[in-house]
């Protein structure tokens, strides 16, 4: 197994060019593709891979020597692209979110269970230092029961990016990109991961409210769903009774992907730049600043990959976990069931917001009995 190399294809040279796949001793980047020449070049440079294809379809039709595909295309295409990979017998790591509809969620699950292939979602929050710390603390029992999590993804890009064709609201050719008009809760996994990825709990119910500055929303060039909201706040209930305050705001004087965990034995605050440090407040004690370990420096990360990396250090951990799981023939940590548990509540949340906060039940997409 030491010498085995996973032959990986990378789809999408935006975020997809930011991972250290090539550094894993058991991984070879065997093919790369993007619809845009500029991004193909980025992928070629990032992974020193000269097998470059003009489309994913083209790549799949010409290569039959691959083991796995890393899908870093646009969110509306993730489920479709994952399906195409599964249809070709390839394992998949996919950018977030897993899908954009409940139908896609069901389809992904069926396909995964029919093929037995591995799926992992590249959720960065899961490998943020604060989240790893919270998960370890929770598993040791030091948080006690976590009854409330306050988690958020604040990114104030919307207003200033409209009209700026070099911004993330546009494709490299200047056409409006998928971010325009995307309901905030259709991109929920950075936030829901702070509950699902810490306790393993499922979200069963959601009530969500939305707000958007009409003047700003009207200026979007593309808004296929007519989304009125740039900001959504959701109240979610966990299957074991935890409460999650889940926010995704695109117009706000704040920035960050972070969480605070309230447990019976203490409260943990993730660092919020300019506001607070990482803080642990044990029951009966005072709030104390924490220094988090360098989580890239662990045995599961190959030597060459032991370094800081993108998305707050999560990139090396995501690469290592996917490749390690394939080598060890096991399910990766953020497997399809976890991924859907982080994705689906947001889809339902947006529906709730459109109904002004009506509380809705979140369907579960767990392993079905036939594969249990």
């Amino acid at each position: 197994m030491q010498n085995k190399k996973i032959r990986l294809a990378i789809v999408g040279g935006g975020f997809g060019a930011g991972f250290p796949w090539a550094e894993h001793p058991n991984c070879t980047v065997a093919a790369v593709t993007d619809l845009y020449a500029e991004r193909r070049q980025k992928l070629r440079d990032a992974y020193r891979c000269d097998s470059v294809y003009n489309s994913y379809e083209d790549l799949l039709s010409k290569r039959n020597d691959l083991d796995a595909v890393a899908i870093f295309s646009a969110p509306p295409d993730h489920a479709k692209h994952v399906r195409m990979a599964f249809d070709h017998g390839l394992h998949v790591v996919s950018a977030v979110p897993a899908c954009q509809t409940l139908e896609e969620a069901a389809e992904l699950r069926d396909l995964k269970e029919r093929t037995g292939l591995k799926y992992m979602m590249a959720e960065s929050s899961y490998y943020y230092g604060g989240c790893i710390y919270a998960r370890n603390l929770y598993r040791k029992g030091d948080l006690g029961t976590i009854f409330y999590v306050e988690a958020e993804y604040y990114h104030d890009y919307l207003e200033e990016s409209i009209g700026n064709r070099k911004s993330i609201l546009y494709n490299p050719d200047g056409t409006p990109g998928w971010r325009q008009g995307l309901p905030p809760m259709y991109y929920p996994t950075h936030v829901t991961a702070f509950l699902v990825g810490v306790t393993g709990e499922r979200i069963t119910k959601v009530s969500c409210l939305g707000w958007g500055d009409v003047k700003v929303m009207r200026r979007l060039e593309r808004n296929p769903k007519g989304t009125p909201y740039s900001n959504e706040v959701a109240s979610m209930q966990g299957s074991r009774g935890a409460m999650l305050r889940c926010n995704i705001f695109r117009q706000i004087a704040a920035d960050g992907v972070l969480a605070r965990w309230f447990g019976e034995r203490g409260t943990l605050y993730m660092a919020n730049e300019g506001i607070n440090q990482d803080v642990w407040h044990a029951r009966g004690g005072k709030p104390e600043a924490l220094r988090l370990p360098d989580y890239w420096n662990t045995a599961k990360v190959p030597e060459k990959m032991k370094h800081p990396s993108g998305h707050s250090g999560s990139a090396v951990l995501i690469c290592a976990e996917f490749i390690n799981a394939l080598l060890e023939d096991r399910e990766p940590e953020v497997n399809l069931y976890e991924a859907l548990a982080m994705t689906v509540p947001g889809i339902v949340a947006h529906n709730s917001a459109l109904k002004n906060g009506e509380q809705m039940t979140v369907p579960a997409f767990e392993r079905s009995r036939r594969t249990a």
Binding site: Y148, V233, S235, M243, A253, T267, I275, A282, P287
Partner: protein, 402 residues
């Protein structure tokens, strides 16, 4: 010659005056010309003994009462008042020279005690919350409108420095559209510990259960909602609330006087202006205090969380920067004798002054009955929502007919 600030005070709070008044103005100035003294009775010698009625030149504490001797003594000493009664009923029967009553009894008794006083023609300041049921809210509104008497709720959050600052900033349009507020009241009462401690807030001086034991958190929502209605004047229109109960038979088996299973409640509320509010009241949490964060189009304001973060202003497109709040004690609202630090985050002197000032000026106080019910009623509905596992419910309004 008048200073600019004095001129602004005289001019009242017109929008233009406010825009120039920076963050310094807190309320209308204390009356200067009146030698009238409000004859005030104080009911309840717990929290009720911590105000500054006797320091206001236009107020005299002329009677005090509590059901417990130890608290009667506290009131006698705090206000240097020797007219001490064993009960509110007794006091009301024997005294017909009073102008107003300060009700600091147990929360479940507030509405009843306010009604008793209003029926006798007395103005009232009441501890929070205003009431415990929608029926009481309706009764209070009807009684207030029938009698024309003044009512104020002594909501401390309204006069905490962070809230005063937020209110000023909002009125000067410093937030722009204030689309989201996060408000919370965290007060850790671990059941095993509190039940075992007869000197704790969960017991009366004689060892009987106090009203706090098992009170559903959202039945005490005003410290949180004071940061919403007390800043923007908004009303809550709908609520979905979730709850959680600490792992102890006290909650798990509802072994408390309210049959309440929940120690912590987390509510998502929508306002009448379409804004979003996250409102928490937790009785079992490793955190402490009444705090808020306000998010507007022009910036975000964070109230201090002791040991965690400082008062902070984050201007849109700028960076978060610590904010030193003004020293609000230098205010014409406070008679000079009252310009000192006081309880509940410095709010006690402001609450005292506002009530007496309003009676002397014959005007409605801040935190009048309509605002008080707007801070109280959403919590009552929120708890009902929590008992239904978060079903979204509409919040009835108890506003003045326009």
């Amino acid at each position: 010659m008048k200073t600019r600030r004095e001129f602004l005070r005289v001019a009242g709070f017109s929008a233009a005056a406010l825009a120039g008044a920076a963050a310094q103005e807190i309320g209308r100035p204390a009356p200067q010309a009146s030698s009238r003294r409000i004859r005030l009775a104080v009911v309840g010698g717990g929290f009720g003994a911590t105000f500054h009625w006797h320091e206001h030149p236009n107020c005299v504490v002329s009677a005090v009462t509590d059901l417990y001797a130890v608290r009667r003594q506290k009131l006698r000493e705090a206000y240097r008042c020797d007219s001490v009664y064993d009960s509110l009923e007794d006091m009301l029967k024997k005294r017909n020279d009073l102008d107003a009553v300060a009700i600091f009894s147990g929360a479940p008794d507030h509405a009843k005690h306010v009604a008793m006083c209003m029926q006798r023609g007395l103005h009232v300041i009441s501890a929070v919350p205003a009431c415990q049921s929608l029926e009481e809210a309706q009764q209070l509104k009807e009684l207030k409108e029938k009698t024309g008497l003044k009512y104020m709720m002594a909501e401390s959050s309204y006069y905490r420095a962070g809230c005063i600052y937020a209110r000023s900033l909002f009125r000067q349009a410093g937030f722009g559209d204030l689309f989201y507020s996060e408000v919370e009241y965290y007060h850790d009462f671990p059941p095993a510990q509190l039940l075992a401690d007869k000197r704790s807030l969960w017991y009366h001086p004689d060892g009987a259960k106090s009203w706090r034991q098992g009170l559903p958190p959202m039945q005490y929502p005003t410290h949180s909602l004071g940061y919403v209605t007390g800043v923007t004047g908004e009303r809550i229109a709908s609520v979905s609330c979730l709850g959680w109960g600490a792992d102890h038979p006290f909650y798990r088996e509802k072994k408390n006087q309210y049959g309440n299973p929940l120690s912590n409640e987390f509510a998502l509320m929508q306002t009448d202006r379409g804004h979003m509010v996250r409102c928490n009241v937790f009785w079992n949490v490793v955190a402490n205090g009444e705090q808020a964060r306000w998010f507007g189009e022009k910036g975000s304001l964070y109230m201090e969380v002791p040991g965690v973060s400082a008062d902070t202003w984050h201007a849109r497109k700028g960076k978060p920067a610590p904010k030193k709040l003004p020293d609000y004690l230098d205010s014409a609202m406070l008679p000079p004798t009252m310009r000192h630090a006081s309880g509940h985050g410095g709010s006690a002197v402001f609450i005292t002054a506002e009530f007496i000032n309003a009676l002397i000026d014959n005007r409605e106080p801040e935190c009048n009955l309509y605002d008080s019910l707007a801070m109280t009623v959403p919590g009552i509905v929120a708890h009902q929502s929590a008992l239904r596992n978060g079903e979204q419910l509409e919040v009835p309004r108890f506003d003045r007919k326009s």
